[in-house]
Point group: C3
Chain length 395, copies 3
């Protein structure tokens, strides 16, 4: 039974991005952020879940490692009660199975150093990289090879800007941010980030009002090129809303039918792009010369970890301190929290329809969704694999 | 496996009211109360769910409207964050889809007034009537026609009483009440309301004790006519316990086996009837000349909205004020709350058996259930349709 | 998809204790503790659930009874709102169905003493025994006969000890304890209790440190006899870790690979055994001459009631008082709570793997699990029946 009278998307439309529609659990075989560096102290252990994979991250002698968070013995989470007795190893708190962090091999059992299993079983390890304050892990099929370069799973380095924003892997790049577990499929979050049609949820945000930002009611694309497909050989794949090209967009400044007129007098340039496997870049946001990156990391089919990261190029210690001060007292409260909390509300509100009412075939897209559709097609073309449910007690 | 030794109802018995047993989600194509008038302010929006239909109610320029609460675009609830920018319309807070309240047509999109969808898609609208302080909606199949008169889905107008109680649609009728979401299928609630066998849960209620009401331990029906089937042509269908006819009932005043004797010395006349699609009328309750109406509005198969409404005929402003004073300080706390909370407990306690242990075929009815069985049969005869699960992610 | 690289148990191994692996809901046709005597006051009613059976326990004129907690009429729990109007009966609070506690027969209905059902339907009754402060019920198939002696479902009476600990049914035995509902299948709890490999979770417990107990890192079994299979004809069946025989175990005192050395200087003798259908005996624990019994009573397939009972032989009133003082101020806070809370954590942490990742075939047992495997085999041989889900709304 449906309570709507709309015709949903036609089969022909959905077929154009069918691989994407199937990716309920997310894209496998990609690099995803797991933790900020400052969240993992020396000798610390933290558990995270990405695409159904439970991972234990551990820092030992300065190096970071990621291993399966399931003890091979009786399956408890190693991170449930961190126990690290020797450098370069992680010990299960229950019966003392101790694994080498570099290869996952069982190296000893605390209470039985002579056990026959020692040297013969192991837990899985995951590739890790720590760069500019963030710890990334490569998650997917164990035999996937070769592991692509981390840079292929991050937004491209901006080159066509007089004052290009900081790249996540760039020299002198500093980052600060937050992440939180949200209800909602990762794709609903990613699409919301890119979507030029959701300006309405932000029109009365404190940030926008305080800075008197000129925000149109909407943006009408004037050409197919308004959202550019970007496919860098051996590099990032994504789509970019070319807000930098005024000939591609007509801003909608009033809609008399609903008595709305765009507010604000201060023009502000920014540009939005979205990258496989689900990373947003908003150049010159929340303010010029800064950049906001967002990751929508799949946890399971109905939850994602929402990452909000502000990056900046700080060449001196003073610049870094100024960045941190701005972050703590302006960018975090007004940007990542007050502004983006509207997006959080919207994404969580969308989940029910896509879960319970089969939204992927029961949605009615409009002109403003050209951008989202481009993303779906682009994401469908650059698929390395799917995550799937790890649970045996489900279908 | 069953832990009981009882024989359940025979197949022959259940077959007599099989249509009713199938109505897990409730009876479709009926009028149901959605809100009290005072709950919907001018320009207000409220969301309610009836039989799996999510509805958004809105009052604009004094008139009330009901539309589907699912935006055709990407399915969020319009009531999630009410946004009404122009009279006679409702705007989705996410991307600005704006619908005409009278026919559901998409009339504009805030940020794109030229979108091709405008005028070509719509959300469903539902018939609404507002009468004597209550807002009713007609919910069911969209093509159900003609929509029956509201009065057919309310208890009949009483005519055989020297001092007939107020009808819900009557001139001068004033109502006050409450409603709340309860665990439990709507039928368990309806049957509890009618059931003459549940006096035991009320025998020590404050209302009964304070007024020294003579309440028997039980009521033994002496004839098939004790519960009358009422079928008014083009009007209400229901059953009535004819407590007004002393020749039909023998009150049970003591049961020595359990050392119980009926308490109270003040006789009190009232009469109970139950009407399709699940509306109770208790004439002269909580006190003479007042009437308590109850609606058991299905939300889904395991929850209903429990409505308790006291009605009274107030011809002057003074009578209305006196009614409101009595309601606030006596009828509400002692009647709708203290007294009926016992019923709430009982209904919620019954749900588990009917849900998890297939209670409809695994119950053992007794003589006192003649009244409930009459209701089941009557309800089975007057079926306009079933609600069913709207969810795609369930069987 | 699995995130581990381990081979699970081979089919040949699992086959050795296949009946046990199937017992998700527990072993039927056994005696289980339902309440401590002090929890059931004269005329009191309490509801408990064992292996999916909902039971109402009632004490009337000093005698305890157990009946099905589901009213045959419309299925509410009798214990939901205890109502006992006459000795030797229990009355349903909803419509007054009144049952004889000794045979479950419907003896009257409060409001209709002449109902045709009276004398013709009944609820199930369960055998009950109250011994030394504990109330046991026999739960399983209604036609299971003969009901075995209670002693067959309790740990054996110890005879091979110079100072044998108190038996649960012994003369002069006094007991004190607690019980609580835990997440986790009953078998994970039982195995944790026996398992000599879980010493690691206790190595820094307050009890161990305060008493400077010499606790090894692990115990290496030197022979198949280290865990003895005990099968007493017409009596208890179980397995016992023969810690009393030094030739059977080699304590592991250090493991240089993880920089661990056993702590403590005071040797302490205790002995652990586990009995069908899931009862642990730890002789001389928490301190010498006392004994800790634990029951892991299945509630459903994912929850058990964890019973911790300390027993002592007190021949005089003074000895009993001294026992109670020690219990309240030492054995309870340091033993049953601080010490065993570590076990609670471990069991609850293990549940997820066995539920969602099919742990019974996806575990990798080690040498120290010889004891657990012996238990599984022994339990497989002494099976009187399975509990199963009572719910109709599950597969
Ligand atoms: S579960 Fe990890 S060592 Fe036993
Ligand atoms: S979901 Fe309503 S306008 Fe987009
Ligand atoms: S449900 Fe127990 S008497 Fe009716």
């Amino acid at each position: 039974m449906t309570t709507q009278n709309a015709v949903g998307n036609s089969f022909a439309v959905v077929r154009q991005y069918a691989p994407y529609v199937q990716a309920n659990w997310g894209y496998a075989n990609h690099w995803y952020p797991a933790l900020f560096s400052e969240e993992l102290a020396e000798d610390g252990v933290k558990g995270v879940t990405i695409g159904g994979h439970d991972l234990a991250l551990r820092r030992s002698q300065g190096k970071t490692y990621a291993v399966s968070d399931r003890c091979v013995h009786r399956g408890v989470k190693l991170s449930g009660k961190p126990m690290c007795l020797a450098d370069g190893t992680i010990t299960c708190w229950y019966h003392g199975f101790t694994y080498d962090l570099s290869d996952g091999n069982l190296t000893t059992i605390v209470g039985n150093p002579d056990d026959a299993l020692i040297g013969n079983v192991r837990i899985r390890t995951y590739p890790v990289q720590e760069r500019n304050g963030m710890i990334y892990v490569f998650v997917g099929d164990e035999d996937f090879s070769p592991v692509p370069d981390l840079s292929t799973d991050l937004p491209m380095k901006v080159t066509d800007d007089a004052n290009p924003v900081a790249h996540l892997l760039g020299e002198h790049t500093v980052v600060k941010g937050i992440h939180r577990r949200l209800v909602g499929n990762w794709r609903l979050a990613a699409e919301n980030g890119l979507d030029p049609g959701h300006l309405l949820v932000h029109w009365d945000n404190q940030l926008v009002v305080a800075l008197d930002r000129a925000l149109p009611l909407g943006l009408q694309a004037l050409s197919e090129d308004a959202t550019e497909m970007i496919d860098i050989p051996d590099g990032p794949k994504g789509v970019m809303n070319r807000y930098d090209k005024p000939e591609l967009y007509r801003p909608v400044l009033e809609n008399p039918k609903v008595n709305m007129t765009a507010r604000g007098t201060v023009p502000h340039y920014f540009r939005v792009s979205l990258w496989v496997p689900g990373v947003l870049m908003v150049e010159h946001w929340p303010i010029s010369n800064f950049v906001q990156y967002e990751f929508y990391v799949p946890i399971d089919d109905h939850h994602h970890e929402y990452w909000e990261v502000i990056a900046y190029r700080a060449e001196t210690e003073e610049e870094r301190k100024e960045f941190e001060f701005k972050f703590d007292n302006f960018l975090l409260p007004l940007g990542l929290l007050d502004f983006n909390n509207r997006d959080v509300f919207a994404r969580e509100a969308t989940e029910e329809h896509y879960t319970r009412f089969d939204g992927w075939t029961n949605e009615v897209l409009c002109d403003m969704d050209f951008s989202v559709v481009s993303w779906r097609k682009q994401a469908s073309r650059h698929l390395r694999g799917y995550f799937s449910s790890p649970y045996h007690d489900e279908d």
